[in-house]
């Protein structure tokens, strides 16, 4: 049976009173990720907002075992956990690497790529708040075109986001998926599925950030939904090379494949205050082309 809000497991592994900002999508996503793993995991976290969430010695706000590891080393740390458990003959524990976009797209890509090439048996989840939010919002490889940040303060970012999921797909790993914190049940189902697969599994989760993206705390879910409705985020999974649209992206495709205009998404957030009409048009073309590709690739429509 598919998960819904009524039948979803009640037990929590994130404890109330943690350090995340109000309306934090990362916290929401992590909550459902740990539900899908039923706490039977060992987590490794690099420097990131997730470090903040985990708390300060000697108290942690998370009820699963976790090792914090330096920024560049997440994939290798997860490798070490897997190798150690295997060497000791310990079974039934999922190793979860949980890193932000800076820790994944930028400084952590080497250790992640190495681990994926070795087909290490862990789930790697990148929660993408599209910038170095923990240090106060500087540009990352995942900051979108046109977004103002601490290091693109005047003109906004002049480059497109790096498509990390495509990079991971190219590693030939058995499972990659894109998710959004605004669709927690889709995220839950994907993590649950990933849990049953062997090898490196990569999930990318879009996690809107109210203080970094400059929108009200209460709008986190709405902003994430708009990203999906405009096609800026497409929810899909690729299992052993089979591409499927999922959740709201699948419904949109089935209902004729129309997207909402991207403009609405950009005017809803303060970080796009300097975006130009040309950039919006350029991004609309980019979104349309990619959506077409996704519709073409989808095997489940």
């Amino acid at each position: 049976m598919k998960a819904n809000a009524v039948n979803l497991i009640e037990q929590e592994w994130i404890l109330p009173g943690n350090r995340t900002c109000p309306g934090c999508a990362l916290s929401l996503a992590y909550r459902h990720i740990l539900k899908a793993l039923e706490g039977q995991c060992i987590v490794t976290v690099p420097a990131s907002c997730a470090t903040v969430l985990h708390g300060m010695y000697p108290i942690t706000a998370v009820n699963v075992p976790c090792v914090n590891t330096p920024f560049a080393s997440t994939g290798a740390s997860a490798t070490g956990l897997v190798a150690g458990l295997k060497a000791l003959g310990k079974k039934g524990i999922t190793v979860l690497a949980f890193a932000g976009d800076g820790g994944t797209h930028d400084i952590g890509i080497q250790s992640l790529s190495g681990a994926a090439e070795r087909q290490m048996d862990f789930i790697y989840i990148c929660y993408d708040n599209e910038g170095y939010m923990n240090t106060g919002n500087q540009r990352s490889g995942s900051t979108p075109l046109g977004a103002v940040s601490g290091t693109t303060p005047v003109l906004g970012k002049q480059q497109y986001q790096k498509d990390m999921t495509a990079i991971m797909e190219a590693h030939g790993i058995p499972y990659v998926a894109t998710c959004s914190a605004s669709y927690p049940l889709d995220l839950y189902e994907k993590v649950k599925k990933a849990r049953t697969i062997e090898g490196t599994r990569f999930l990318h989760v879009h996690t809107p950030c109210p203080p970094g993206w400059l929108f009200p705390f209460s709008d986190t879910i709405k902003i994430g939904e708009m990203a999906v409705e405009t096609g800026l985020v497409v929810l899909y999974e690729i299992e052993d090379g089979i591409f499927r649209l999922t959740s709201h992206s699948e419904s949109m495709a089935r209902r004729g494949g129309n997207l909402q205009p991207v403009r609405e998404y950009f005017i809803s957030q303060g970080r796009f205050k300097t975006i130009t009409e040309e950039q919006i048009d350029e991004l609309q073309d980019w979104v349309n082309a990619r959506w077409k590709q996704c519709l073409h690739r989808a095997t489940n429509l």
């Binding site: 300060m56 590891t69 490798t79």
Partner: protein, 406 residues
């Protein structure tokens, strides 16, 4: 107390000796990245694993930074871990070296000492490991291939008692690629000496602890109401562990003798120091060359002894002072340089002597960088030069002399 045991002599180079030692220590996770001159060691270990001779996970990582990250995380789930590297590899590992020691994980690393660029140079000096002096690792240096094998086995015994990682250093090519007779122990002997690794804590979903969280400057009360450390108290405990490790190192060396018949109950090797007026200090294989130099000087009627440093961290201050108490002149040869100052071992010696009754002159020579051959004859000449310099008015020169052709 020497024990009766049958020798089992093999002709081994240093890397082979290290690989055998790691295998016999029953390491469970090995993560390494190839770098000259360490490469044959990693190849040998991967062969042991692929042939099933060693039951371990061999992870061919994509960088040395990752090698140490694999070791730290594997160690935290309770596995005995090993890695090896040289030069740039060790430099690239630097951040993770701090984390291994800071998290108190008993990892053993073989450092095959090599020069660091720029410019490229694959040959021996000790700049690599000396540059990692302050990462919180125990550092032990070997003089020959027997010591490499013996020290790696001892390193696990030490590391797993004091929960501090140990770096076993040996000179690239001079030891790593040079064959020597090595007495290889039996697995039963090693098992008798080295108990299973008992971690002080492990990652386990049944008892969900978190490690290496952000830690405040000041102590903080935990969920059980107990006052826990601040960052500074945790740093103090690491320093305390290194201070106390000296005793453990000597004890592990003494107990080694009881099983294997080779005595390591020391922090340095001494040669003819009892009546020496002049002491040559050197570390690693250079200490062997210094013995040859001492022979030559003794033939010329100069009373020379040798102090071959074995344990560099923790630095054995009081033992060094005791050993140098009769010396009028101390000549320190360093295969490293702290730019703008002097050789690292020379600084340590001077620091140890300060405030004691020993008022010996100290002379420092930088030698053998980037594989430059160091001949016993050169050590003799340098020592004579040091003796002659005592007649000059400068008590202690500001900077070291270099044995090179500039």
């Amino acid at each position: 107390m020497a024990i009766q045991r049958k020798a089992n002599i093999h002709i081994l180079d240093g890397n082979q000796a290290a690989a055998i030692a790691a295998m016999m220590s029953r390491v469970q996770v090995i993560a390494a990245y190839p770098i000259t001159p360490q490469t044959p060691l990693t190849e040998q270990l991967s062969q042991y694993v692929e042939e099933g001779e060693l039951q371990a996970e061999y992870v061919a990582v994509e960088s040395e930074h990752s090698a140490m990250a694999v070791c730290t995380s594997a160690s935290l789930v309770g596995a005995r871990t090993f890695t090896a590297t040289s030069s740039h590899g060790l430099a690239y590992m630097h951040e993770m070296l701090h984390w291994a020691a800071g998290a108190r994980l008993p990892i053993v690393l073989a450092c095959v000492n090599r020069a660091i660029g720029a410019p490229w140079n694959v040959l021996n000096d000790q700049q690599d490991s000396i540059s990692q002096r302050d990462t919180g690792w125990i550092q032990i240096y070997c003089r020959n291939n027997q010591e490499i094998l013996d020290t790696i086995i001892q390193a696990y015994r030490i590391a797993e008692q004091v929960f501090v990682p140990v770096m076993v250093c040996y000179d690239g090519y001079i030891l790593s690629h040079t064959e020597m007779p090595v007495d290889v122990p039996t697995q039963e002997e090693v098992d008798k000496y080295l108990p299973h690794y008992k971690p002080h804590t492990v990652l386990d979903p049944a008892k969900p602890k978190n490690y290496n969280l952000v830690t405040l400057a000041n102590p903080r009360v935990g969920v059980d109401g107990k006052l826990c450390h601040g960052y500074m108290e945790l740093r103090y405990l690491l320093q305390e562990a290194l201070q106390n490790s000296k005793e453990v190192i000597v004890k592990a060396g003494k107990e080694f003798n009881q099983v294997f018949g080779r005595d390591y109950a020391n922090v340095f090797w001494e040669d003819r120091n009892e009546d020496a007026e002049i002491t040559i200090v050197a570390m690693g294989s250079l200490a062997m060359e210094a013995i040859v130099a001492a022979d030559m000087l003794r033939e010329q009627g100069i009373k020379v002894g040798v102090l071959g440093l074995r344990v560099f961290r923790p630095f054995p201050k009081s033992e060094v002072v005791q050993a140098l108490r009769k010396s009028k002149l101390i000549v320190v040869f360093d295969k490293n340089i702290s730019y703008g100052s002097e050789g690292a071992t020379c600084s340590e010696i001077k620091s140890a002597l300060y405030g004691t009754y020993i008022n010996a002159a100290v002379r420092n020579f930088i030698v053998g960088l980037g594989g430059r051959d160091v001949k016993a004859r050169e050590l003799v000449e340098a020592t004579k030069k040091a003796i002659a310099s005592l007649k000059e008015t400068v008590v202690n020169p500001d900077y070291p002399e270099w044995i090179c052709e500039i």
